[in-house]
Symmetry: C2
Subunit: 166 residues, 2 copies
């Protein structure tokens, strides 16, 4: 994380790390879209350019929000994983989703998936964060037992598919 910052304010410090539209969209695609590779992220719905994606991925690794494994000389072969601080951005993204659903013309299927996330509230976000820990940090990193019910991610995917058929 950066230390050459100009303010002690936690909002300002946070924005030094992720206060860039493309940075948060890349994190959204890793957190909610399951994207782990350069090519998948390049194919996201906002059509990020290759050079911006490479720049933002490098910054996310530098700031400790993503780690990369695989062959760093072949960017198509690198797998990106969330760190614990990145996983803890789920509530921030959920609050942004709630605001966007309320005030902007969000459309299906993304709106349907976001509605499941928002309506689930903090308990569902915590469960989703546990799922992300297992997926990105390993089974030992899970903070709570895996639920028997469908995961929030499954329910978001179901809602998105159902909206597409409507």
């Amino acid at each position: 994380m950066r230390t050459d910052v100009r303010s002690g304010c936690p909002i300002s410090l946070s924005l030094e790390v992720f206060g860039d539209r493309w940075t948060l969209l890349v994190l959204r695609d890793v957190i909610f879209g399951g994207s782990r590779h350069f090519r998948e992220l390049l194919d996201g719905p906002e059509r990020i350019s290759s050079n911006i994606l490479a720049d933002r991925l490098a910054a996310l690794v530098e700031h400790g929000l993503l780690t990369r494994s695989g062959d760093p000389t072949h960017k198509q072969k690198v797998t990106y994983s969330l760190t614990e601080p990145a996983i803890q951005l789920v509530p921030v993204l959920a609050c942004m989703s709630a605001w966007g659903l309320e005030h902007l013309p969000a459309k299906d299927p993304q709106a349907a998936a976001a509605r499941v996330l928002v309506d689930g509230g903090p308990a569902a976000w915590e469960a989703y964060m546990s799922d992300l820990r297992e997926l990105h940090l390993g089974a030992g990193a899970r903070h709570r037992p895996a639920p028997h019910a469908p995961s929030l991610g499954d329910r978001m995917a179901v809602a998105a598919r159902a909206s597409g058929r409507a």
Copy 2:
């Protein structure tokens, strides 16, 4: 609000409106700092430049997050007010504060004030939003009765002052 957007995702749409570091810092200073005028905002802790501040204020008005009253030909005399959508960004900023307090080297007095905000949780944020409605939209816009206890804003100010004396 903009309609010339490229994605139906509520996070992406939200970031089209406020996904810029300076935009969120200006909103923070209006929401938590009580700044209502160009000169006050220019004196914020991050030393925003005059042209960036003018640009972001114009965009916030265009996007329906701020309204301006007073003499628009004299920018020093204009008073900015939050709209209801802007007031509803309090939970987003609170979640960012929580993340920054946890993961970054936030410093007093801002850290002490943010801790009060974060620890208060959603009920305190709702009360603060009611206070903002009365201040920015008029007494009739308050959604809940004014509390007898010190407001969240008062408690944040007390914590910030106390940390400064420590």
